[in-house]
Symmetry: C3
């Protein structure tokens, strides 16, 4: 991995009170003491694979080339669901084959290799049926960070699990229908409608009305542009449509929830 | 400590909102900038020494040899309770002599040395009576990580404080009685009954019934083996009996609490 | 920055569930893979600049010389508020010019240089109007950690924003009036009354009565000195007057809140 310290990120639904994340880090450092560890989030809602997929998809591209992303949201641990490594042009991912890498699959479809991890000599000796994060994923990530080639860990598969992540649709010629896919700590409601899609819509000219919960919502360019407590939207730092209120919690104030429909009406 | 970066883990009841953990890290890095820091948990319930003892006992063995474990759950700070270093065959521990290392004492009784820290020149100059985590334990851990021998920090003691951690008993020839000692983020209820103890019980043949809250609970081998919402148990990744429900919170659904009695009835 | 690994601390109101902190770390490590990252707190109350100022002021001095402190509490992101670097004798700070460094200004007034960051070639290419933590502050901190001189990032300013942090007053000759400025996880209520101020007050002899919520509160020297559930106070590890109860939550038990008046009456 060159002379730079190798980098492993950790994402899970383990929380930060229990010792599980610490144990995974201990196992990793036991195999590769030179690795740099960065937490992305351990507060994925318990067993929420889709939330893990969204958070992973929002984050990995900001990390250096050859970063290894360990993602453990694993309600099926111990069952027949497979442990996998996902290799893309610039990144590696290690975790369960349950769809938690679905946003990576969508973004990186041209450079994707998925390996079913079968080489048990890379596993922790004390292999359990309830904590593959510690016993399989952490040691595999550590060995990968030491430069073991991806192919050594198992066999390539093509039937990996891809979960449905909501995509915007066009129910009529002048309408785009998307939805809220994430609500952040500030109560901002992030949708799956990209700025590209909005730009395409206005290419033919005309105006757009953005509708959420029966309300037409004005578009602004940054949070600080308004100072009342009405609902507004903007293109956020990921390039997606997001609803907010000024220095307040939009989701709470307007009862916005994940899955709420967002309409874009042209003309 | 060789050429590998020395490693210090941190466990406390300080939470992650207040600046206390950050300050301890600053003090450590001021003395030894080459150290690697890993958080285990800072969400021990305030002043809960027993919880700190359980979490520490569950975690330290996963870390590399010569790791230094800094544990600060310290309701008696400023009183006459002593600051100590615990040295075992493979690990070091730094913290208050209030029982927070009791699970380490039990597991490592053959290689135990406990040092009362008295060498004040290793303390932070600004010594306070309310924050020994920052002023005593953090700098001592940092100096220890630089290779200062354990003996230089003080004098060996044998009367260190060992708190009662519940052990399973045998109230009758065919019954084992243990208890729930930890409930994790998922609502899984971890007991103090080890797989070794269960295996010994069935050695003479016969069946075991596992009873919690008046209910006989079936044994499974992994969380994913069931898909209803009944209560089940399994041997967890630490080798202990644990109660769970499928993709749900067993502790909440069945009102399980720390200290609840678990019965194993033979025959 | 010498041969030691450069150090960047991170403080924000981003919480630890969302991927924002992880993204900032990815951006930093992309520019400077050799940097050491330490979290101070990401649980500043959303948009609470004053809380960010207090936490930053309580923490930075414990870190090594030349540490870079990245602080992002930034409700005005995207508006005309400027991004700044604050350089003091021993530390660097990077963040928004909204007063979040006010306690630093007060403590370091003799060695203060404040730079308005204008050199956009140090910014992340994908510059957004809603996440300057990732797009401006993180990359600037990373370049600073690589040894780019402060002057290269922009122009010096003197009209930086300084918010009012409450200072104790003397409403009459024998009275000091201060207030509660922070409540920690344990429910201890930290005031803005320093031990120096208290010592000055008793220099002429006489006794002091400390009054909170109509109650005269006895002074102790450490938490463990008492064992009942009355309200007490002490000089804490930062050298400030603090209210506490023995192994309990003083703020909850006595209804203490930030901003509550604390009176010191002499004689």
């Amino acid at each position: 991995m060159g002379t730079r310290r190798p980098l492993i990120t950790l994402t899970s639904d383990f929380g930060t009170r229990d010792p599980f994340v610490g144990q995974m880090k201990g196992v990793i450092l036991n195999t590769n003491p030179d690795v740099e560890l960065v937490d992305i989030s351990h507060e994925i809602s318990p067993h929420n694979i889709r939330e893990g997929a969204v958070l992973t998809g929002m984050s990995y591209e900001y990390f250096p080339v050859r970063t290894i992303h360990l993602v453990v949201v694993d309600p099926g641990v111990g069952s027949s669901r497979r442990p996998i490594i996902v290799a893309t042009q610039n990144h590696y991912f290690v975790g369960p084959d349950n769809g938690v890498f679905s946003m990576v699959y969508r973004k990186e479809k041209d450079s994707l290799r998925v390996i079913h991890i079968t080489s048990e000599h890379y596993f922790l000796k004390k292999d359990s049926t309830t904590f593959h994060g510690r016993d399989i994923f952490a040691p595999v990530a550590a060995w990968l960070s030491k430069g073991i080639p991806v192919d050594h860990f198992g066999v390539r598969i093509d039937d990996f699990m891809n979960i449905h992540l909501p995509e915007p649709g066009m129910p009529s010629r002048n309408t785009i229908e998307g939805e809220v896919i994430y609500i952040d700590r500030f109560g901002n409601a992030i949708t799956n409608i990209s700025s590209d899609l909005l730009n395409d819509s206005v290419n033919g000219g005309g105006r757009l009305r953005i509708v959420l919960k029966g309300r037409v919502v004005p578009v602004k360019s940054c949070y600080a542009e308004v100072d009342d407590k009405e609902l507004y939207c903007l293109i956020n730092s990921f390039g997606f449509l997001e609803f907010f209120i000024c220095r307040g919690n939009a989701a709470e104030s307007f009862g916005i929830r994940i899955g709420d429909t967002v309409g874009i009406i042209k003309g």
